[in-house]
Each structure stands twice: as structure tokens, then as C-alpha cells.
Amino acid sequence: MHIDRTERTYMIIAGALIAVFFGLVVVSSLAYGIQVPAPEARVDPQTVATPGNSPWGDPIDERVRELAPGQYEAFILAQTWVFLPNVIEVPVGSTVTFQVTSKDVQHGFNLSGTNINMMIIPGQVSKLTATFNEPGEYAFICNEYCGIGHQTMFGRLIVTDEG
């Protein structure tokens, strides 16, 4: 098969470019410690919110816990069309591990302006961690269609000034 010389060169460059791009994705993911949700735990969506069954069954104001100074764990239950809890307050400099699950349909959890973005799928636990060094308000928005009230489903993470 005859291949034009310019096209041959172009193909080599194109192939190399794609390899470089993929390499950059790998290197930068490792360098910045990029985390994506991965298998964490299985739950039964029908009973996960029952008191006593899981952290998502605890009273809403007890679902955010301080494990150590500046270390928080937030168990958020997604359901149509609210996150519970939907207001979370932590002091600046805190590290928060979000553990989110759904008791009904699929939802999304995107904490605007951060790298926290995950699918919330019934039966699964989505877990990601972030540190908040800037005080302010961050919205977490459901970004997966979950029914007629989907556009109203969001919550707020308030990072307060007192350190």
C-alpha cells in the first residue's frame, strides 16, 4: 500500500502526540494525587437510612463528625431532591472526607470550584477528600438528573474564617 510521505510523517507525529497526551494525563494525575471515586462499600439503598443501620441513618446534625482537629467526615444522604445534611460548616484549613450515598435514584455531587465531583449511585458509597484553605461558601450541586425537582437539589459547604 502506497502511503504519501507527508501523510506518513503526520501519522507518526499524531501517534506520538496522542501518546504524549496520555502520558501527561498519567503523570499529572499521579503528581497532583487526583482521586476518583472507587469501590468503597456496598449498602442496601432501601435500609441505609434506617436509624442504627449506618452513619446515614444517624440524626442529620450528627452526620458531620470531627475525627481529629481539622479532620472531618461528612456522611451525606442524597434523596429526591435534597442532600441531608445540606448545610455543612467547617473552619478554614479543614480536611473533609465526603461519603455520599443515595436511598432512591442516581444523583450527582459536584462541589463547585473543587475537584470533588462524583456519581451517587444507590447501593454504592462515593467517597472523596478535599482540604479547604479558602474561607467562603461552596455549593454542592446534584448534577445527575433525578426527577422533576432535580434543579432544586443542592447544599452548601461553609468554610468559616476562625481557624
Binding site: 500500500m1 502511503i3 476518583v36 447501593g123 454504592q124 448534577n143 438528573y145 432535580h150
Partner: protein
């Protein structure tokens, strides 16, 4: 010639265009809502229950019905001409079309009755009326039957033409249909084994992660099922229309074989943010996804080179002068050239989406519809419209109603899409604005979004006008009483290289083997894992 095939093609195209008309008309409504103009309350009176019912119509009719029906119509028309042989068993293809139409009606009724407002992905545990799933299944099975009709014809041609290379267009069509056959197994398994028994109440729960995985086994190659017919036109028809030749036919064949092998084992790149899928498998699919860019990069070179041959033959000189010399007065050519330009940006955005890390920022934001309106909404749809400008005259035997209106249509689509897509991209990237959301009613919508939402609305409205221009032209053409004096023929670009392609580029065994091996590697272990650990605990919900 080919009266029966023309009939199949014509009716397929008619259904495709009706679907695009209804589905497309929802688009401007969505963009008006973004910018604060809510027409949904008014539309309640004519039976549109919600933004999301409209969105379901928009996505299912545009992305599934318009594309699939157009493709089988176009393929039926092109295959027999490429092989220079009628369909072996035309009744099979007629039956295929009937099955597809029955399926479409079956799926459309629950959508129109607001019983299937589950969007295009119908992720369980959202649960639609069973007929929605049955209808979709029939549409897919009908498309398989079309494929079987094509394979039989191709088989017969091979028997009669031993030692001759399959004509490029025919080979590309058959490869596309085989890829589709493999890909749709995913969604067929999802619907038949997981969803239908669950929606009928035979089983109580389903496993949403498993369902998603089967869906995306199909969902990504679906993108290539849309795109490859456009590539058929870009490689093998457009150069002829532009006065050029197919620059490297051998590579064009190689590209299609690579798409067969690489289109399927990449679906997990849609599930990077799924909690139930291990990171290692996501990385494997990320790698194959990057490899999948290679055949598209080759396509860019070959197609542009083929067009350059045309531009120079038409008297264009200099580094870029040949571009001006292309037949920009031919609406079929112009629409497709503009589609290609938009596709460059669609491709760059696709690389972003495929990047494991960057995807975190844009997943499920409005960046994604911004992206795929450049691909399926432009590279594919605008190309199909460009094809329609010669195909509908060829089938109907009438002249195109107005070349001028058709030119305006192509350009307005181009401008409208730039505006809309730009707005959506930036809103997703900079502001994490969610996709598939009634933004006009979202309490978290930020005033800072407004200029971009307005830009997207203007784009959406221009696209609406462009759509109307397209329909005016199609109706004007078909309803015209005057037959064309010179019948329109299918444009087929000659190959620059007179030597036939090597035998390994006309041989199924090595490529099918590679395809199956790659799918087994990329999907075998993870599917075994997900199936064996499946928990069928999700009952159905209808929260709309």
C-alpha cells in the same frame, strides 16, 4: 434503478426528519428557559408536562431516532450503488424498517404521555413504562435486521467477485453495521435481562451500577455509529463533490477497521466518576480511548488532502488558496465543510473528556452537551443535512427546492452552534453549571452565568431558525411537482492510488479477532466482577 431500495431509503429519511423536527423544536425552549424565559407553563396546555419530558423527547428523537433512521436510509441507498447490486433479500430490509417504526411508536407513546421521562440514558432505578423499553429494543432489533440484509448482499457480492477488493463505501458500511451489532449487545442485555423483568415487577430490584456498565458498553460506540456514516461521506463522496479524489484509500480502509476494533472497549470513560468501578479498569479504558483518537487524526489528514486535490483542480493556488476555490456555492459541500470545522473543536473537547483528571472538572456539567452538540449535533447532523441536499433530490427525482436557502441553513447552523456551544462549554468549565437541568428554575443559578446563558439562548434560537430553513427546503423539494431533468447520482470519489488495497485490509478474520480480544480484555474481568457481586436491591422510581 433500485426502486425498492430508494423506497426504503426515502421512508427511513422521512421518519428521521419528522423525529428531528419534533425533537429539535424542544431545543430552543430549553435555551429560552436557561435565559429566564419559561414557556413550559404555557405548553402544559398542549400536553408538554415538563422541561424534562421535553428533554427526553429532544434526546431520544434527535440522538437515537434521527441518527439511526437517517443512517439506515443513507446506507441502504449507498450500499447497493457501491456494490452495483440490489439488496439480496429486500423484504428483510423492508421488515427491518417496519420493526423500527413499530418500535419507535411503542417508545414514543409513553414519552408523550409523560410515562417515560427518564432522559436518553434511562438510568435505573428511574423506571419508565415497559413499552418505552420494548420500543427501544425493537428499534435496535430492526437496525440489526437492516444489518443482516446488508451482510447477505455483501456476502453474495463477495461470492460473485472473488479476488476483487470490496468497494470502499460498501466495506465502510458493513464495518459500521458490524460495530453497531456488537455495541448494541450491551444495551440489549441491559434492557432484556435487567430492566424489562424489573419494570414488569417480575423481580423487585435491580443493580444500577451493572445497568450503567452495560449501557456505556453501547453508549460510546453509539457515538461512532453516528460519526462513521459522516466519515463515509467525507472520505468517499465529498471529495468528488469538490472536484477531488480520495487521497489514500488504503488508509481510509485501515481507519474503519481501527474503529471496529477500538470503538467498544472504551465505555468506562463515561464512568470515571462511578463509585462501583475500580480505578485500574478506568485507566485501561482511558488508554484505549486515547488510541481511538488516532483513526480520527488520520481521517483529518486524508479528508483535507482529498479536498485540497479538488481545490487545486479548480484553480486554487498557494498554501490556503485551494480552500477558497472549493465549491462553497454548493450547499451540500458547504454544510459538510462547516461540520468539519466544528468537529475540530468537538475533537479537542473529546480529548478533554477522555482525560481521567480533567474529566473531574467537567463531568455532568453543561460542558458535556456543549461538546456533543459539536459532534453529534454538528459533525454528524450538519453533515447529514448536507448529504440530504443531494440524497433527497436523488431519491425523489426532484430538484432541491432552493440552493440559496440551503446555503443559509448551513451557515446559520454553524453560527448558532458556535454561540450555543461556547456558552455551554464555559458555563460548565468555569462555573460547574450542571447539564440536563432546568437552569431557569435552579436556586443556585448565579447572576454571573447570565451573559453566557444569554449567548447560549441566541445560539439556540439561531439553530431553531436554521432547522426551519432545512425543513422548508425538504418539504419544498419533495412536494414540488416538477421532476428534475437530470437525475442526481450518488457522488463517488475516485481513488488517487490505482493499485488495489492490500488483502489484509479486505479481510474480516484478523480484525474481528482483534476486536473480540480487545473487548474481552477491557470488559471481561470487570463484567464478571460486577455480575458476580451484583446486588439487585433498587426498586423503581418515577419521580417526575
Amino acid at each position: 434503478m433500485y426502486a425498492r431500495e430508494n423506497k426504503i431509503a426515502g421512508w427511513s429519511l422521512a421518519v428521521a426528519m419528522i423525529a428531528l423536527f419534533i425533537g429539535g423544536s424542544m431545543g430552543p425552549l430549553q435555551k429560552l428557559n436557561y435565559a429566564g424565559v419559561n414557556l413550559y407553563d404555557t405548553l402544559n396546555d398542549i400536553g408538554l408536562a415538563s422541561y424534562y419530558q421535553g428533554l427526553t423527547l429532544h434526546a431520544v428523537l434527535n440522538a437515537l431516532v434521527w441518527t439511526t433512521f437517517f443512517i439506515v436510509g443513507f446506507f441502504t441507498f449507498a450500499l447497493v450503488r457501491s456494490l452495483n447490486m440490489p439488496l439480496k433479500m429486500p423484504w428483510l430490509n423492508v421488515a427491518a424498517l417496519i420493526v423500527m417504526v413499530i418500535g419507535l411508536i411503542m417508545a414514543a407513546i409513553p414519552i408523550l404521555l409523560n410515562l417515560a421521562t427518564v432522559l436518553f440514558t434511562f438510568y435505573p432505578p428511574l423506571q419508565a413504562n415497559t413499552f418505552f423499553y420494548l420500543g427501544l429494543t425493537l428499534v435496535v432489533i430492526g437496525s440489526w435486521m437492516h444489518g443482516y440484509g446488508y451482510y447477505l448482499t455483501y456476502w453474495e457480492w463477495r461470492k460473485q467477485n472473488k479476488g476483487t477488493r470490496t468497494p470502499f463505501i460498501a466495506l465502510a458500511i458493513i464495518i459500521t453495521m458490524v460495530m453497531w451489532q456488537i455495541a448494541t449487545l450491551g444495551v440489549a442485555i441491559e434492557i432484556i435481562f435487567l430492566i424489562i423483568p424489573w419494570s414488569l415487577g417480575w423481580v423487585e430490584g435491580t443493580d444500577p451500577t451493572l445497568a450503567r456498565t452495560f449501557f456505556w458498553f453501547f453508549g460510546h460506540p453509539l457515538v461512532y455509529f453516528w460519526l462513521l456514516p459522516a466519515y463515509v461521506s467525507w472520505y468517499a463522496m465529498l471529495p468528488k463533490q469538490a472536484g477531488g479524489k480520495l487521497f489514500s484509500e488504503g488508509l481510509a480502509r485501515l481507519v474503519f477497521w481501527l474503529f471496529l476494533a477500538l470503538s467498544v472497549p472504551v465505555g468506562l470513560h463515561h464512568q470515571y466518576l462511578d463509585p462501583g468501578v475500580p480505578a485500574g479498569w478506568k485507566a485501561v479504558h482511558a488508554m484505549i480511548t486515547f488510541a481511538l483518537f488516532f483513526p480520527s487524526m488520520v481521517t483529518a489528514f486524508t479528508v483535507v488532502a482529498s479536498l485540497e486535490v479538488g481545490g487545486r483542480a479548480r484553480g486554487g493556488t498557494g498554501l490556503l488558496g485551494w480552500i477558497r476555490a472549493l465549491p462553497w456555492g454548493d450547499p451540500s459541500v458547504t454544510a459538510q465543510l462547516l461540520a468539519m470545522i466544528l468537529f475540530v473543536f468537538g475533537g479537542i473537547g473529546g480529548l478533554t473528556n477522555a482525560s481521567y483528571n480533567l474529566n473531574l472538572v467537567i463531568h455532568n456539567t453543561s460542558w458535556v452537551p456543549g461538546h456533543f452538540h459539536l459532534t453529534v449535533g454538528s459533525a454528524v447532523t450538519l453533515t447529514f443535512m448536507g448529504i440530504a441536499y443531494w440524497l433527497v433530490p436523488a431519491i425523489s427525482g426532484k430538484n432541491l427546492w432552493s440552493r440559496k436557502v440551503a446555503l443559509w441553513q448551513g451557515w446559520t447552523w454553524f453560527v448558532g452552534m458556535i454561540l450555543m456551544s461556547n456558552g455551554l462549554h464555559i458555563l460548565g468549565l468555569n462555573f460547574s453549571m450542571p447539564r440536563r437541568t432546568m437552569i431557569g428554575a435552579a436556586p443556585y443559578a448565579d447572576p454571573a452565568w447570565n451573559p453566557l446563558l444569554f449567548e447560549a439562548m441566541i445560539g439556540g434560537l439561531i439553530l431553531g431558525v436554521s432547522g426551519l430553513l432545512f425543513y422548508a427546503n425538504m418539504l419544498g423539494t419533495v412536494l414540488s411537482r416538477k421532476k428534475a431533468e437530470t437525475p442526481v447520482e450518488m457522488p463517488v470519489a475516485e481513488s488517487m492510488d490505482a493499485t488495489p488495497a492490500p488483502a489484509w485490509l479486505d479481510s474480516w478474520k484478523p480484525w474481528m479477532a482483534l476486536t473480540i480480544v480487545l473487548i474481552l480484555i477491557a470488559y471481561g474481568p470487570i463484567l464478571v466482577d460486577l455480575i458476580s457481586s451484583a446486588q439487585f436491591t433498587s426498586p423503581g422510581f418515577t419521580p417526575w
